[in-house]
């Protein structure tokens, strides 16, 4: 027989081992590396703040941080609006459960192909010679192609929204589906207007979903370097893209210092979100 005192430890062991192996150790390596020095070929193990000094005193870093936050906020806003609206429609307007599930699955269909394919498919559509521009020119709305459609901030945000809306929608849908119809009926009986129901009942009760979705979207956007490179065509940049550039040139410690900076920058919005909504308490509810 196993001693009873050991049972809880055994229960958390699988997760604890995973977390140590795949989170704690890599993070420790990253932090260690950020204090080393590199000349572009070999690494010198030492303890130096040079990398941090370079990162924090560079105007570029702050500019990139601003760009990163801009993309995060824009993407968060649009995915929230779209995700919330879709969930709202599915939960409160589609009464048939089977139809509801079917429509929900429909939303996931684009996710059956890879991220890269879904992203790249925008290129022939938005390009100067692309479908959209050709269409507008055929209709005579414009006489020369709109260049801002591709290789621009617009293209980057559009792709993020396309790729990440589902991550916002699913948690919101989940919380909305838990709202008991009797609560809403009671509100209607008490004379609440549809807007009041939305504002005072639905939004407060779905905030867990909103918070979780926001965490997903914000972290995904802030850590991305691929979408921004391909869709931005090198015309836009963020911290992760600059980090990738450093890694490509073998300046690992510089990239590591930037990564630590980015982790802190991502933690701030996450902490704020989690302060506003106590996700754990709400989920346990």
């Amino acid at each position: 027989m196993i001693n009873k005192d050991w049972v809880p430890y055994l229960q958390v062991a699988p997760l604890a081992i995973l977390m140590v192996l795949f989170v704690a150790i890599p993070l420790a390596v990253l932090v260690t590396l950020s204090f080393w020095l590199s000349d572009g070929i070999s690494l010198t193990p030492t303890f130096s703040f040079d990398n941090y000094k370079a990162v924090l005193t560079s105007f570029l870093t702050w500019k990139l941080l601003l760009a990163t936050l801009k993309f995060a906020v824009l993407t968060w806003f649009f995915t929230l609006v779209i995700g919330f609206t879709c969930s709202y429609f599915l939960v409160f307007h589609v009464k048939n459960l089977k139809l509801q599930i079917a429509l929900f699955l429909l939303c996931t269909i684009p996710f059956w192909t890879s991220n890269v394919i879904r992203m790249i498919s925008w290129v022939p559509f938005l390009g100067k010679e692309g479908l959209f521009n050709s269409f507008l020119m055929m209709l005579g709305i414009i006489d020369r192609p709109l260049e801002f459609l591709l290789f621009s901030d617009f293209a980057v945000v559009l792709t993020y929204v396309h790729l990440f809306t589902l991550f916002m929608m699913v948690p919101i849908f989940n919380s909305m589906a838990k709202i008991s119809p009797s609560v809403i009926e009671a509100a209607v009986d008490a004379g609440a207007s549809p807007f009041m129901i939305l504002k005072d009942i639905i939004i407060p009760l779905t905030r867990t979903g909103i918070a979780l979705g926001s965490v997903f979207v914000v972290t995904l956007v802030m850590g991305d370097f691929f979408v921004i490179r391909v869709m931005g065509g090198g015309q836009s940049s963020n911290i992760a893209a600059a980090m990738k550039n450093n890694i490509d040139q073998l300046y690992y410690p510089d990239a590591a210092a930037m990564a630590v900076f980015l982790i802190i920058a991502v933690l701030v919005p996450i902490v704020v979100i989690l302060r506003i909504v106590d996700v754990r308490a709400e989920l346990a509810r």
Binding site: I41, S42, G233, G234, A241
Partner: protein
């Protein structure tokens, strides 16, 4: 008993192979010079070659394995990843296909071993640009950037630096090279482009691109800036901080004015930009031009009066190779210069360092098209057999002599590399 039988079998198989390889392997003599007993043992050797996708191909490894009787395995890794591996896990590589500028960084680490020039049969037939640092006519080659000759020889096997003149020990066997220039869409430009400065010409506003690899991108930019007359560089391949600053300033101003449509980081991106017509004039690599043309879109690799930016790859041996494995590696190096690889790589527009064997392995019609600059008399196919050009087409830039007689600078990594990467990040983020 068994051992003897095995040896005999090995010898006969080898002899047969030698006879069969006959014409192709002439001059390389890939099979001679080993104790017979090793011939059988060689069969169990596996050589792992690692290098970028434009130089290391499965097709080449398959053919070599067939010809040599031992196994060649390949892995693709871009030069940056390859260099990290050489430094940190040298035992995971037997042969590295390294660009010459990478050699400048890699040789001093001591992870590579010197190659005995005398064991490379075709060494004296390697193009003089690489073997002697001179053109065939004796003229010196531009030393801006990393001129391959500067990093090809060493004085002693354990030397940390490079020898300024020819020695009998080499850091690598030079294998392939090319001359890079601008690619363009002749149908969308409609006039003659003769100078690098057109890259910054407002006429092509929003329709140009340079590559987003700091070390090479800045050289292409420098070619354009110098051609326009803004800056006269001391050495485009090793700029001072001030020169980097000025160059980035000009680039940022051009970017602000919307000169560049985008910046490409991968081969595929450059092909897509051009095919889609997003860009009409950009830095390009020769096989990318080939790829655009294979899709039926006109694309020209335009020779420019200021000259080409050259680059080359050499095969280097990891220092852990000894005895049998090292002998096998030498055999493979010799095979590489024996013709088959030269013909394969020629069909994607690159040059093997040894012309004689390449010529023997190409059909005369192919030789005339790829090397002599004559109109194609047959259908020209790429290395994988896809149709590329119909009879009558002429290769851009003309003959081999014209294309490789005018190097203005070489791919490199500068002393101020770290500063350059930092400023380049600023440029991209601006």
């Amino acid at each position: 008993m068994t051992a003897i039988r095995k040896v005999k079998k090995g010898v006969s198989r080898r002899t047969f192979l030698k006879a069969a390889a006959g014409g192709v392997a002439a001059g390389s003599g890939a099979i001679t010079g080993f104790p017979t007993i090793w011939a059988q043992a060689l069969k169990d050797v596996t050589i792992l070659q690692v290098g970028p996708a434009y130089s290391v191909f499965q097709d080449i490894a398959n053919q070599a394995s067939k010809d040599l009787g031992f196994k060649i395995e390949i892995q693709n890794a871009w030069t940056d990843a390859l260099m990290t591996r050489i430094v940190n896990q040298p035992e995971t590589i037997d042969i590295a296909d390294l660009e010459f500028w990478g050699m400048r960084k890699m040789w001093p680490t001591g992870k590579l071993q010197a190659i005995d020039v005398k064991k490379i049969k075709a060494w004296e037939k390697i193009e003089p640009i690489f073997r002697e640092g001179k053109y065939a006519n004796g003229e010196p080659v531009s030393a801006q950037g990393t001129m391959p000759f500067e990093v090809t020889y060493v004085e002693a096997a354990d030397a940390k630096g490079f020898a300024p003149q020819r020695t009998e020990l080499a850091t690598c066997v030079p294998t392939i090279y090319n001359a890079d220039t601008l690619g363009l869409r002749p149908d969308l430009i409609g006039r003659k482009i003769e100078s690098w400065k057109e890259l910054l010409n407002p006429e092509f506003k929003g329709k140009t691109s340079i590559l987003n690899i700091p070390q090479i991108g800045i050289m292409d930019a420098a070619m354009a800036i110098e051609a326009r007359g803004d800056i006269k560089y001391g050495d485009k391949g090793n700029m001072t901080k001030e020169e980097i600053d000025k160059t980035i300033e000009i680039l940022m101003a051009a970017k602000k004015d919307g000169q560049f449509r985008a910046f490409w980081s991968t081969f595929d991106e450059s092909v897509n930009f051009m095919t889609a017509g997003e860009v009409v004039l950009q830095s390009m690599w020769s096989p990318a031009v080939t790829a655009v043309r294979t899709r039926g879109v006109p694309c020209t690799y335009q020779p420019l009066k200021e000259g080409y930016r050259g680059w080359g790859v050499g095969m280097a041996l990891a220092s852990h190779l000894t005895d049998l494995k090292r002998d096998a590696a030498y055999e493979y190096l010799n095979w590489y210069l024996s013709g088959w690889q030269g013909a394969f790589i020629a069909r994607q527009g690159y040059y093997n360092m040894v012309l004689e064997t390449t010529k023997a392995a190409l059909s005369p019609a192919e030789w005339d098209y790829w090397y002599e600059g004559k109109p194609a008399t047959v259908e020209i196919k790429d290395p994988f057999g896809n149709l590329m050009e119909k009879p009558g087409a002429i290769r851009d830039g003309g003959s081999y002599a014209e294309r490789t007689g005018n190097f203005a600078c070489w791919n490199t990594v500068m002393d101020e590399d770290k500063y350059l990467v930092q400023r380049w990040n600023e440029f991209i983020a601006s």
